[in-house]
Symmetry: C2
Subunit: 203 residues, 2 copies
């Protein structure tokens, strides 16, 4: 098998999902840093790899690319302990992955991007304010779930946890206060205690 | 097997995805109309089925629910002609499903909701204006892909087509002009020509 090549941006939670899973799977990979702040995902060369101009993009073999962080998580975790085999459990994992992309990431990750990556909290003040309510709604839903579950699906660590962990554990960098969510905090510690855990900015 | 019960809202493209696939699979189902405009997804009773308060929600067997339209599509299509068996092709289907939820639906479906479902184009004028550029970017990406492909993955009709068709074929109801996208128009006709096709408001 060819070595996987990950087009990535170190501060990105979406990129971190893939780095974390690959590391926990023990799969070697080459990381190519693409600076999204300098327009490097908008060059003709990068758009030939992913026409949507986004990282992470995974080169599975020379010239064969897969985009969308959560689709990459599923691809890499099939037939591993990180994705349940049971049909309904696997569908629940997918449900959380779609929840993450539609009800969580657009609010929590975007706020973090404006505040902590771009450093433009003042410029985006009104937009950030609009993200507060739906962002806290996503966190409250997670908190309720984690009050009676140790992980998101099947009481074991799966890619649903990886996908939701990526931006939740740095939600404070987007101005979200996690101290009011004790079940989330406990879950964050359980994720950090997993074998071969790496932090978000660890290459 | 129990009869599936679909909690649905007839004008919803996300609900339509499931109605269309179930009909094309020839699977009988009960449809329960939930009027999202009257807060019926926010009642304690509905939130006990889907804590995220959204349709579609599928009751697979009594008390067992699955949410997120695209997760439901995958659940229903496994081991059918609507989802490729090959690992990479299946991942490409997922890539398009996540693209639909992150780069298409938030702009095109939301504009349609404000303009044609709520009938409040004037009230949401500024927000609609902000959705124009990313919405057209999603359509342009689809147009480029369809210029050299008859369907999204593997040159055959899959749930990737169903997911993208749902809001694309009614994009004009969100103020998007499809006449400039001939490849999309040709694809829309190919989808409509599929066996057991039903229209979006056909129960």
């Amino acid at each position: 098998m060819e070595t996987l090549r990950l087009y990535d941006f170190l501060p990105s939670g979406n990129g971190y999902k893939i780095r974390l899973l690959l590391t926990q799977l023990g799969m070697p990979f080459d990381r190519v840093e693409v600076n999204i702040l300098k327009g490097e995902t908008r060059t003709p060369e990068f758009l030939s790899k992913n026409p949507n101009g986004k990282i992470p993009t995974l080169e599975i073999e020379p010239g064969k690319y897969l985009a969308e962080s959560n689709a990459i998580l599923v691809y890499l975790s099939e037939c591993t302990e990180f994705l349940p085999y049971d049909r309904f459990s696997r569908s629940q994992v997918l449900q959380w992955l779609f929840f993450e992309q539609s009800s969580h990431e657009p609010f929590i990750a975007t706020s973090r991007f404006w505040i902590s990556i771009l450093g433009k909290a003042e410029e985006y003040r009104e937009a950030i304010e609009q993200k507060r309510k739906p962002g806290y709604a996503a966190l409250s839903l997670m908190e309720n779930h984690l009050t009676s579950h140790i992980f998101f699906v099947g009481e074991r660590y799966t890619i649903a946890d990886i996908a939701l962990f990526a931006y939740t554990h740095v939600a404070d960098e987007g101005g979200f206060d996690l101290t009011q969510f004790p079940a989330i905090q406990g879950w964050i510690e359980r994720v950090k205690a997993q074998p071969r855990y790496i932090s978000i900015t660890q290459e």
